[in-house]
């Protein structure tokens, strides 16, 4: 009896705590949306308002009407970059992760440390030489210049490696007995069975591509090759700042990711669950 009452009390307490925390976590989204509908005087006002005085949809329409700031174009660019980067980088990482986990050849440890090593070296400072390398190959202002360096994700290799390390060996052996080569086993058995993992790491890679800033700033010089983050930063100028449009733009820029999360969150959770993070 006592124990039962204790469980109920504990579970109510859990719900209360979780609900409070969820509210706290969602507050910044609320503030973002509120500001996106405000006018400039309201955003910079010195007293708090729970809601904008009116829903200023023109903050949103102005985003797309302004010929001086190709916001719509930048959304398309970001979408293209993320839609290409996510599957390609995840596939490449899966291939390498599988080989490192399951194909035992001499020199495997060297390859692994070469890949993991890139995680430890801060990227900000090696950006310049990378920029010159990509520039000399004609990558400035091009889609491939924006995309290519982001396709090689060592972090995902590490996660895939631990995921494949815990893969049941029997499936592979059965495939081998059926006459499949190592590559055949990967392509026909392993890959179809890692769809969830690929979806979840693909989602993370999508977010990273969508939110990256410094590289597109340097390589996408022309406004026609701006990404959405660059377009957003163009609101913060040194003369006058259009805050409501900046907030509206930020809300629009977050929206695709939020939708993706809402749709894919079950897969993301399961995928990461399957990785098990054994090592």
């Amino acid at each position: 009896m006592n124990r039962y009452r204790g469980t109920v009390a504990a579970s109510i307490a859990t719900y209360v705590v979780l609900c409070l925390l969820a509210v706290v976590f969602l507050i910044p989204f609320y503030v973002l949306l509120r500001n996106a509908f405000m006018t400039t005087p309201e955003v910079t006002a010195t007293d708090w308002h729970w809601l904008p005085s009116a829903l200023n949809w023109n903050n949103f329409t102005a985003l797309f009407d302004n010929p001086e700031r190709p916001f719509g174009r930048s959304l398309v660019n970001s979408l293209l970059i993320a839609v290409i980067t996510a599957p390609v980088s995840t596939l490449l990482a899966s291939m390498a992760g599988y080989a490192l986990a399951r194909i035992h050849v001499p020199g495997r440890a060297v390859v692994l440390s070469l890949i993991v090593g890139t995680l430890m070296i801060p990227q900000a400072v090696t950006f310049l030489p990378t920029f010159v390398v990509v520039g000399s190959m004609g990558g400035v202002n091009t889609m491939w210049g924006l995309i290519a360096p982001g396709l090689f994700n060592a972090f995902a290799v590490v996660l895939f490696r631990s995921f494949y390390a815990s893969f049941p060996a029997e499936i592979e052996e059965a495939g081998r007995l059926d006459g499949l080569s190592y590559l055949g086993v990967y392509g026909r058995i392993i890959l179809p069975n890692s769809v969830t993992m690929i979806a979840s790491l693909g989602a993370l890679s999508f977010i990273e591509a969508w939110n990256s800033f410094l590289w597109p700033l340097m390589i996408g010089q022309d406004p026609s090759s701006w990404t959405v983050q660059i377009a957003l930063s163009s609101f913060l100028t040194s003369q006058t700042v259009n805050l409501p449009e900046l907030f509206a733009g930020t809300a629009v820029a977050i929206l695709p990711l939020v939708v993706m999360f809402l749709v894919a969150q079950r897969h993301i959770v399961q995928g990461i669950a399957m990785s098990g993070l054994k090592s």
Partner: protein, 422 residues
């Protein structure tokens, strides 16, 4: 079953990849292929940073098209974007690579760029027009006897004050630093703070303090700002009263804090004057940063934007001719650029004199302050020196000993300067 669904899934993935790759190729644009380039023998690339005022981008594109109309052999591809701090990063990266612009804007002119051979000397296109330019600008852009840039606008930064609030508090615009501290304190009531110089409470004030004490940052090949320990030490007094507005939504270069009555006085640029006038009517005035004491002098900061020609450009001559046409000869364009999108001052004194918007009211006062009290950063000043100087000032504002802190930063800046002068 599972094999088939996997296959179809893979098929789907493949198709969508092909589709996306195809549209990516279709979408990747060739920035040189703008309409203006058709029929032109030479296409110049010209970079601007992101101006905040509406209509600026259309304006510079219009200027470029007018040039092509007059000179059909030369097209100009205007590349726009990145705010002041990121613009410099982006430009510097581009200058290292193969896709550098032929002509570009510079916010803070860096003499080091000229000494490292990144800029083309422009003396020949200045010609006799040189004498008509603001002398302070010419001094600023001269490195080892040669001119390496052309000012397109001068920005004057001044102290804006609300007349009505000063009157209510029974004070007048400050003329010494001690008065500034007192006035700010008097003006601080309820939700209104006395003074706004930047969200960090520092802004450009260390420069203004040093200059207002009659001191320099660099004198010849010596960094000397530690001489201004007395005035920069005043930051502490300014902060101890809590009369300085901190952490506003927008920073000092936007008029928001002033027009929203969050601060009774704000350090801001002439560019914001139209916005302020629209919000406050004639309830405001402008003043220079006050002299530190009787031996000092009132000062204002002189900024603005400079255009320069890339020394490695393949079309240097065309680029120089275009600059000469645009920023020396086309006085109507210069006036349009200076006052139609926020207020700036045309660098040619004769052009500035006949700009109607600048010859009345507070704008006129601000221009006069700029002419009389304006000081530019030294051209040898670098971002590292700036960071070290501002950091020292921020420490002093928090209570560090002024002399010792400034001397330490100065020693570091001196070694940077020695390296730069090579």
């Amino acid at each position: 079953m599972s094999a088939r669904s996997a296959l179809s899934r893979r098929g789907f993935l493949g198709t969508s990849l092909l589709f996306v790759a195809g549209s990516a190729v279709a979408c990747s644009s060739n920035p040189q292929g703008t309409a203006a380039a058709k029929g032109a023998k030479v296409t110049l690339t010209q970079w601007y940073h992101q101006y905040g005022e509406e209509g600026t981008q259309a304006a510079v594109k219009r200027y470029a098209e007018e040039y092509t109309k007059a000179n059909p052999d030369v097209a100009v591809n205007v590349v726009w974007g990145a705010d002041t701090s990121q613009y410099e990063t982006k430009l510097n990266a581009a200058l290292l690579g193969a896709d550098a612009p032929d002509i570009f804007e510079l916010g803070d002119f860096r003499a080091e760029m000229a000494r490292k051979g990144q800029l083309e000397p422009l003396d020949d296109i200045y010609g006799s027009a040189k004498d008509g330019f603001n002398q302070a600008d010419l001094d600023y852009l001269t490195v080892d006897g040669k001119l390496y840039g052309m000012k397109t606008i001068d920005d004057v930064m001044v102290l804006y004050y609300r007349k009505s609030l000063l009157k209510k508090a029974g004070v007048t615009p400050p003329t010494t630093f001690a008065e500034l501290v007192d006035t700010a304190k008097e003006l601080t009531t309820g939700g209104v703070k006395g003074l706004f110089i930047g969200n960090d409470g520092i802004g450009d004030s260390p420069y203004l303090l040093a200059w207002s004490q009659g001191k320099d940052l660099i004198d010849g090949d010596k960094v000397v700002y530690a001489d201004a320990a007395k005035s920069i030490g005043g930051l502490r007094d300014l902060h101890s009263d809590k009369s300085v507005l901190l952490g506003f939504t927008t920073d000092w270069y936007d008029a928001g804090a002033f027009t929203q009555s969050a601060a009774a006085m704000q350090w801001c640029g002439l560019w914001a004057l139209p916005t302020i006038e629209k919000a406050l009517g004639d309830d405001f005035g402008v003043a220079p940063w006050p002299a530190y004491d009787k031996n000092g002098r009132p000062v204002a900061r002189l900024g603005g934007w400079t255009q320069a020609v890339n020394a490695k450009s393949k079309h240097k001559d065309e680029a120089k001719k275009y600059l000469q046409w645009l920023w020396i000869k086309q006085t109507d364009i210069q006036i349009d650029w200076a006052v139609k999108y926020g207020f700036h001052v045309p660098p040619q004194t004769e052009v500035a004199a006949r700009t109607p918007e600048l010859s009345k009211g507070a704008a006129k006062d601000a221009v006069a302050i700029g002419t009389k009290n304006g000081v530019s950063f030294p051209a040898e000043w670098t971002q590292a020196m700036q960071a070290g100087f501002i950091a020292a000032a921020a420490d002093i504002a928090k209570g560090a000993a002024p002399e010792k802190t400034l001397e330490k930063a100065q020693a570091k800046a001196q070694s940077d300067l020695d390296k730069q002068m090579g």
